[in-house]
Structure formats: C-alpha cells, structure tokens
Symmetry: C2
Amino acid sequence: MACVVQKFGGTSVGSIDRIRNVARRVKAEVDAGNQVVVVVSAMSGVTNQLVEYCAQIAPLCDQKEYDSVVATGEQVTSGLLAIALQELGIPARSWLGWQLPLRSDDAHGKARILSVETAELRARLDAGEVAVVAGFQGLGPDGRVTTLGRGGSDTSAVAMAAALDALRCDIYTDVDGVYTTDPRIVAKARKLDKITYEEMFELASLGAKVLQTRSVEMAMKYRVRLQVLSSFEDVPGTLVCDEDEIVERQLVSGIAYSRDEARITLVKVADRPGVAAAIFGPLADANVNVDMIVQNVSEDGSTTDLTFTVGKADLNRAIKVLEDQRGTLHFERLVPDSNVVKVSVIGVGMRSHAGVAQTMFRTLAERGINILVISTSEIKVSVLIAEEYTELALRALHSAYGLDAG
Amino acid sequence: MACVVQKFGGTSVGSIDRIRNVARRVKAEVDAGNQVVVVVSAMSGVTNQLVEYCAQIAPLCDQKEYDSVVATGEQVTSGLLAIALQELGIPARSWLGWQLPLRSDDAHGKARILSVETAELRARLDAGEVAVVAGFQGLGPDGRVTTLGRGGSDTSAVAMAAALDALRCDIYTDVDGVYTTDPRIVAKARKLDKITYEEMFELASLGAKVLQTRSVEMAMKYRVRLQVLSSFEDVPGTLVCDEDEIVERQLVSGIAYSRDEARITLVKVADRPGVAAAIFGPLADANVNVDMIVQNVSEDGSTTDLTFTVGKADLNRAIKVLEDQRGTLHFERLVPDSNVVKVSVIGVGMRSHAGVAQTMFRTLAERGINILVISTSEIKVSVLIAEEYTELALRALHSAYGLDAG
C-alpha cells in the first residue's frame, strides 16, 4: 500500500473550522486507498506568541527552554487534528517528536534531524490508522525537546516521507505553489509548474518562505517528490523534481528576497592572519550563522573594514559575542544595520549562460540602487541593498529576466 | 540540605509579569538555603481554551488526544519560569511529565500517579539547580501523555514533595488560605490557621476548589506538610496537618459547595437484583464517577426510580452510555438536571457529636429549601438542592454552625 505524507502549515490549521477542513482533505487521501501520515504546524499566530513570551522574559533566552515552550503549538494541533479525523470515522493518533522518536542533534532552536524511528508507526499505518505527527519538533540527545527552526515542519514532513519511502510529500500551504517571485509585490509573478530541487533549494535559502531550506535539501538527497499545494483551492500546485523532468528551462527561474538579514560592519579591524577565524569562530560557537562576507582592501596596511550579514534574529546575540571579544579583535567600531534586503536571482540555466549577473547589476544601476554586498554561486547571484528599494528592485529584475506573465 | 516544593496556580503565573514575580518568590527560598522544586500550572485561561478547542471538534473526544493537547499549558509555563529564574541568575531547568518521568496509570483525563523517578532530578538539585516541573501531567504506561484531572498540579506538587521527602509543600494560589466557606458568597467567612488532612480532604472532595482532592489524599498518606498561601500577599496561610496539632477544635470546620454535579433520574427502572450493577458498571467502564445514589421505594413492586449524581462534565457521556444500554436496562425515561448544587458541612468533631445533620436539615427547612438527595459520612453531611438556593443555604448554615466571623 502506498504511503503519502501531507503537511499542513499554520494558516491551514489556523482555526477549528480549518482543522476540520484538513481532516476532510486527509480523508480524501485515505479514501483513495493510501496510508497517510499528516504533519502539522502550530495554528497561525501561536508560535509567534510563544516566541514573544520567551523574548519578553529574556531577549537571549536559554534555547532548551525556548524549544520546550514553542514546541507546544504543534502538540496542540496534532491532537486536535487526530480528534477531527476520529470524528470523521478515521482511526488516527497524534505522535510527538519524542514519541516517535524523531531524533535530532542538540542545536536547540535549529536542530537537524538525525533519524526517525518508524517501526511502531508503520505497524499502526498497516493497521489502518492515520498518523498525525507534530511537526517542527524532535528529541535531542539529552532527552530534551528540540525544534528544527522556523518552517521546520516542512523538514519534518520530508523526513517522514524519506523514512517511510513515501510516494509523495504534499506541502499544503496558504499559497497555491511556487512563483517566479513574491506575487504580493510583483503582480506579474507567474506560478511555476515544476522547479528543480537545486533551484528550489536556492529560492528557499534566499528568502522564499514557501518551503524550509532544509526540507528541500533533504528532499533532494532522498529524491522525495515534493509538491506545494493550496489548502484552500483545488488547483494544481508546483512539483519540485529532478532537472531532467523539466522540458522548458528558463535562464532565471525565480527571484527571491529576504528581509531577515542584518549587516554588521567592523570598522578598522587589525588586518593580520587569523583575524577572520577570531571573528567567525566565536560566532559559530554561539550558533550564529554568517552569510555574506566582504573584506575591504586595507588602506593603511594595518587595519581593514569587515562587513558580513547574519540573521536579524541573531543580530543581538552576534553583537554581544563580538563586543565580548573586543579585547582580542581590536576593532574600532561595530556598525549594525537592519535596514537591508537581500535580493537573489536563481536559475540552473546560469551554469551554461554568462551575463546573468551583469543584467542584474545593470538593471539595479539604472534604477539608482546601490549594491552593498554581492555574493554568487553556480546557480544564483545575490545582492544586499537598502530595504526601501525592495519592491522597485524586484519588479525591475522580474521584467529584465523576461519573467513577467503575458 | 532541605528541599521545599512550591506550587503556583494559574492566576499566579497568569502573565509574564506574574511569572517574574514567581521567580522572585522562588529566589527567596533559594536564598534561604533550600533546594527548591517548583510545580507550575498553565497560565490562567489557557487550559480552558484548550479544553474548548477539543470540545468544539468533538464533545466526547478521545481522552488520549485531549491529554496531549491540554498538557501543553503547563509545558509553556515551566519553560517560561525556568527562563525567568535564569534571568535572576539562578540555574534552573524545566521538567515535563515524560522527562522525569512521573508515571501514571492510563485513566486519561484523570490519571493517578504511580511513581516519580527522582534520581536525575536529585543530582541536579544537589548541583544547585532549581527544578521547574510542569504540573498536571504524567507519562502513561503506553508512552502517551496523561493528565491528572483539573487541579492536578496540586497533586503533582504533593507527589514531588513525597518522593523527595520535602520539608514542606507550599501551594501558592489566588486566595490566602482555606476559609470556613467561600468568602465570595459568605462575607463572614473566616480563614482557618490549621485544618486536619481529613477535613481538608472532605472540603476538597465536596467542592472547595482551593486544593485538588487527590493532593490532600496523598499528603495525608505521606504526611506531607501542606501549606496554602497567597501568591500576591505576604500573609500567613492555612496549614493542613494532623489532628493532634490542632488545639481548638470546632464541631464543623467548613462548609463546601459544588456546582459541578448533575443529577440523573432513571424513571421506572426494572426493580430486580443486578439492575444497579447493570447501570453503574457501564458508567464505571466509561470512566464516569457516580457520587450520590438514591433508589426510591418501588410502588408497584416491579419498577423503581433511581437518582444519582455525576460530574457535570461527564453528563453527556453518562447519558450516551445509559441510552446505549437502554435495551438492557428497560427504563422508561432518563431525566437529567444540571441546575443543582451539593452543599456539605464538614468537621472531625461530628464523630463525637450527634445533631449536626439535624441542624442542617432544620436550617434548610426553615428557609423553605427542599432537599433532593442526602449523603453522609463519618465527618460530613451533604445535601443536593436546587442551584438557585446556593447563597441562601451557605449563609444560613454558616450562621447556624456558629462560624460567622466576629
């Protein structure tokens, strides 16, 4: 019997009526003769409320306690959906991260999945029961609750699909698929029928919130057929798949942006070997991810300015870590800047075509938009610009790459 | 080093500011040189909201899922209080029911505690860490989350105190002690300095919401010194202790009432041996507690009317169970009545003095209050009356037994 994993995001389970709706969608899959594992997020708004509680008590709180607090949102939804399924006559039970268990490492707040035990779950699926798994949560090596980072329920779903060798992993959300860019900003954005794992991975990494990056990474690794669908409308979604399944390839498939970044400039850092390690080592130890890095050419030969970006949520922690290291680092000033946006163009076509970056730089220059930092990879070009230019930049680039809908 | 258990109820942790306040109270106990275990309830209103969610989806929902949903309230508070303690420089961690584990039986929704494992907890207390235990929750034999019934955090606290052989178990709540009766109804109610375990047990069983019945039962069994105190004021509370610690004994110590009961009358049930078992067996199987039972004298020799009370929350379930058994029971009609209140007078002095019940019946009769059902035990007399007479009955009885404050 084929197994299908369905994942429903926060807005899809945002009210009791919507949870009932989800139960009906699950029932349709059961009626179609499939074994079904459902992965749920917290009801929309709940996680934010819980995060806010933690932050009110301590802006830099113990991540173990944070995880224990915020994981409750998914626990509630999983129980409620199991009840709703039972009301429709479908045997169902909820599974918490520690009950499966879904084991993760100990990077609390953004833990990585290590393994999923499925023996008992499989037996119950075989007995005709639907499994409702609380997403976003795992069991750490120390027996504490971990969470997988914002959007982590997507990764829970893909991990379940991989562990169960599922036919499909359907991600139901409040949009009906993956778009060339954010349709709330660019009215001419188009829905993609298919997108490659690689492109989806970059889109997600670079700000498209439709899927958590790790979920795509994991889907790519285990070749899980991932579909992004609307919870509310019965329309075809977007399939994330291998490159060779896609016939019509574009040079650029999508344009992503992220307002979640903040820029830190360390002014007049000693320009000597080992200084980068001295800066980024402690940040890594404090679990702060650093993204783009630019080191200016030293003017006086002894000091340099170093600019890099971190997640906005990590900015305070990063500043604290760096200030604590001031005695070692000898920088003159630390200049944080939260009013930035990272805009990225993505496409596997870039591998074989030059000029994609050039088009981006020219288009932005024509609009008078100053580029603060650039970073590139095989299939994307990212620039950091002032946040106020977000809409202007996205619309201009969407046209420049010929992505506008007819 | 002495260990103290402190329990804080829902209103005591009802906001972030109040959680900070609780942290300061815990700190005072730590500063006094004690090891501290804190047991917390859900923030006030949270459990009701979660119960409401379950009820909206299914009035008679799966109690396993119900438990998993409603246990989240305490999980949130335990994490938040641990963070608040850390902010005051006190090492602290939260403990969930399944993490200790606090093992219970499988009576989901009102499970009984079987054991508490404390080895790891003790080691951490010895290392100077405060333990913040999520109250109300346990781990069932099947690895599912259980809850201990409304007010179950009191029982969690006493169980922790018993398991750790604690010096005291302080129950912090929104009232400042145990009163002769509800001071919101009877202005002349007096706070008791001390009360016996037995009386407290009856008061709690019979509706005084200040402590969960099982917590008193367990405190009595393990001789845990239980104190009821205000979270908000620094005033002496009420000590629950052995009878011989109390010098001035009253005939009646307190008057309790409960609006949580509902009456069911089965009209014209077959009057033959085995009928009571046929009625109450299935109710017990469905986890419905039956309290007062009255069987009328049969008029025609073949049928009888049977009246009994169940918890209001169980009324729908009880009705369903009885209707399902209709084929076997052959009753003519089932008459439910939720508009009743149980009023009880309690006192260990009753053991040696007659006339306590007589005073009750006469006092109610003088006010024209009809008694629907009577039940008595060694140290209490309970009557079921129409709910509209609650206030009148309480005030009249409080005066009649000489309990009014000077």
